[in-house]
């Protein structure tokens, strides 16, 4: 009937033919009632699709999505436990290091074999001086650190450090997960 293919008719309908080809197609359509009917059918089909109503979104969908964005209580709880635990271990480790540094040698019992004896001694002197002054000014009595904290052996420090780094790792993992949940950059 004509040299026009469906694909070309569709391209023409979609405005995707070149200007010269558009003129040729229009001439063919003008000369053929059949092509006019095909074009009309194609446009009616397209019109039917365009008039389609978008599928209804479920009720309260936006609220559901926003709720899904909040971190779950369980994850938040675990995250807080991990953070608190790691903080406690960090404190314990600081105390352990100070104890090892200023405490008596666990083998010889010699009080002066400190790892950081000069630094810790300075701290102890400054702290005790300040504590004495505060105690003098107020009725509050601050403890003295002149008595060293004692650690029975260095192995407990190693075990403590291992546990500490384990918690650091856990804290890091939970923290990343928490931040993914809260979507902060």
């Amino acid at each position: 009937m004509s040299d026009l293919s469906y694909q070309e008719l569709m391209d023409y309908c979609d405005g995707r033919t070149t200007p010269s080809r558009t003129r040729e197609i229009e001439a063919m359509i003008a000369a053929s009632y059949r092509l006019q009917q095909e074009l009309r059918l194609l446009r009616s089909l397209d019109h039917g699709v365009r008039k389609d109503i978008p599928s209804p979104v479920p009720a309260r969908f936006t609220q559901r999505v926003v709720s899904a964005l909040q971190p779950s209580r369980q994850e938040l709880f675990l995250y807080r436990i991990a953070r608190s635990s790691s903080a406690l271990f960090a404190m314990a480790m600081v105390l352990a290091v100070i104890g090892l540094a200023v405490g008596p040698d666990p083998v010889t019992g010699h009080p002066d074999r400190s790892l950081f004896s000069s630094a810790v001694s300075s701290f102890r002197t400054v702290y005790d001086g300040a504590a004495e002054r505060v105690s003098g000014w107020t009725t509050m009595s601050l403890p003295s650190v002149s008595r060293s904290i004692h650690l029975p052996s260095g192995s407990s420090l190693i075990i403590g450090l291992a546990v500490f780094f384990l918690f650091i790792l856990l804290d890091e993992m939970m923290g990343k997960r928490y931040h993914r949940q809260t979507f902060k950059r």
Partner: protein, 195 residues
Amino acid sequence: MSAEESDVIRRAADGDTRAYGTLVDRYAPNAMTLAMRMLKDRRDAEEALQDAFVRAFRALPGFERRAKFSTWLYRIVYNVCATMLSRRGEKDEFVRPEEDGEDAAAAIPSDDALPDAAMESGEFTHFVQEEIRRMEGRYSAILTMFLLQEMSYEEIMEVTGLPVGTVKNRLFRARMLLRAAVLKRFPEHSHGVIQ
């Protein structure tokens, strides 16, 4: 992209869930339509849509403003639906590129009886819309993106990851399937063959 939308996207990317809610309100209907066309099941489509919007929020800080937000979002919806189809064992036909259809180059035949007066009726339009819902997802999804959501070939390629030939072919086939269904359904309105 308007300045207002750009601002909403920026706030949502910074973690503002209320701003993101605005985007969900705006894009959920079209995204839901795409999910329905692909999955053909309301419950699956709702699940996929929620998953897609949550994923999109997480990925929002990485969204490059050069692209249209809608195209970027629909790509996520498309991929989530494709994953769901994969679980059903139906993904392959969706993502496999196709050669141009042989019938695409064929000349328009002169012996089909066309539904004349019926084309103007509400029944005709309703039938067309029902037929899209029945059509295979790989065709109806492309047709919906092109005609209902007025996306260009390039945008459809970006959403689906399919080459232009496959996009054109599926669009062609979708229209031909609709045409065939209409000719079958409305023979009583045809006015006969006109050469």
